[in-house]
């Protein structure tokens, strides 16, 4: 379903949705772009690059309580369920790379085993994408990993900026619901509008981006050069922080801890938090042995997970080319360069 929204009516549409759901949109605050909750009567405009934090937090928050527990001494522990009571949420301005990352996260959390915490949030969130008219960052490489600046994967609605108006395409049932709910604001798209959107998409594709070899070539190269000395060389400057993975829209590793709030009676929460393969404790064994003992091994894990292991398991690359790990790396470690140099492409 394709419609047209005049730019000046965007805020109106957001406000209308805000009456029924919590609305998030990119906002520039404290020096960074982030998804911020939109308060009533705030003017919403899209002129953002990519947000620093990806959209994954809406379905996979950094901290999730799995259950609460309480144990009186000598008695069996009581467990209390804490499934999230997720409120309907609509997220505006999601870039197509973050949308595609959602497809990858779905594969991890809902294929084979359905993670109820993830699913509860996923069911309630609507992602309204915004096609990129030009690459929001100089480190974008979505075209090289099978995506595009106007990919619809994982999004519920895709908006494309045209002259003075947005082409709004509903993709999923959830998306159609919010578009149909605003029939008074959105006009039906004419054939010319569809053509204009297609032209905007074609123009966006023409912008130069960082380039990576094909999925098959990179995967084969990484597999062949697993033991390459290049890994250590490229990771020699790595400082071992977790910025790359915490900011990645498709990194999904987590840790589970018990947070004790009282010892008598034993009370607390079992909590799931993001974890990070770049930290030494990620693979630390209780014996003290660490199989990924240095930054080279950890860099190899991160890059290979994105571009080799995920391909082997799901036949798609996990990386969606947003470029955040490159732009935010304190020492300029660049996944495109690393994958290219190691795989010998």
């Amino acid at each position: 379903m394709e419609t047209i929204l005049k730019k000046e009516r965007l805020s109106e549409w957001v406000a209308q949705i805000g009456a029924r759901a919590t609305v998030f949109a990119p906002a520039f605050a404290d020096g960074i772009w982030n998804f911020c909750a939109v308060a009533a009567d705030t003017k919403v405009e899209f002129d953002h690059g990519n947000t620093v934090r990806p959209a994954k937090g809406f379905v996979f928050p950094q901290r999730e309580v799995l259950y609460r527990f309480r144990q009186e001494s000598g008695k069996a522990p009581e467990l209390m369920e804490t499934l999230p009571a997720a409120a309907p949420t609509v997220v505006f301005g999601v870039r197509p790379c973050d949308g595609r990352a959602m497809v990858r996260n779905d594969k991890v959390f809902t294929c084979g085993f359905n993670d109820p915490y993830y699913q509860a949030r996923r069911d309630q969130v609507v992602f309204v994408g915004l096609a990129c008219s030009e690459p929001p960052s100089q480190n974008c490489f979505c075209l090289s990993v099978g995506g595009s600046p106007h990919s619809e994967d994982g999004l519920d609605v895709l908006m494309t900026e045209l002259d003075g108006r947005y082409h709004v395409k509903a993709i999923t049932a959830k998306g159609r619901e919010i578009v149909e709910g605003a029939a008074a604001l959105l006009d039906k798209a004419q054939a010319a509008d569809g053509k204009a959107a297609a032209k905007a998409h074609a123009d966006a594709d023409k912008h130069p981006q960082r380039a990576l070899a094909t999925m098959e070539k990179v995967a084969a190269g990484l597999k062949e050069h697993f033991d390459s000395p290049k890994w250590d060389e490229l990771a020699r400057a790595c400082i071992g922080c977790g910025a790359c993975t915490y900011l990645c829209p498709s990194c999904h590793c987590f840790d589970i801890n018990d947070e004790i709030t009282s010892n008598v009676p034993l009370t607390g929460e079992r909590v799931r938090t993001w974890d990070n393969c770049q930290f030494p404790d990620f693979t630390m064994h209780s014996s003290g042995h660490n199989p990924r003992h240095d930054t080279g091994a950890r860099l190899r894990q991160r890059v290979s997970h994105k571009l080799l292991y995920f391909v082997e398991n799901h036949n798609i690359q996990q990386c969606t080319g947003c470029g955040r790990c490159i732009s935010h790396c304190p020492v300029g470690i660049d996944i495109v360069r690393v994958a290219t140099e190691v795989s010998g492409q």
Partner: protein, 153 residues
Amino acid sequence: MSEVLETPVQAKKEAQEFEPKIVAFLCKWCSSAGSDLAGVSRLQYPPNAVPIQVMCSGSVSPLYILSAFNKGADGVLVSGCHPGDCHYLKGNFFARRRIYLVQKLLKFIGLEPDRFRMSWVSAAEGTKYAQVVADFVKDIKALGPQRKLKARN
């Protein structure tokens, strides 16, 4: 530590008036003996301070202080021997410098300065210890509960 904090004032939690929880790190040789003296002298002073005996005020890590706030303390007191009286000769001098910096840092992030205090209390100063605690409780009552560094749950 949460366990220690809960017990003595837990019963009063229900009471209408806010009863602050105070963690008091007392050096074994002076201040702890001073608090004992206050006790055996039957001095009346508020029961809000939970004493934790340490070997020297110089052994109190800033982490203990922050952790006490994190675990729900409304105020933290560090007390040691008067300058020159340290059992280990200079432990309290190290403490003085370090505590000064902790206090400035807490102030810088916007924690009320009255929530963190240092005192010199000798083994003979039972009355002073009672007074220090009474003053502290009074000041913290005026501020209300500490939430800034307290863990959510």
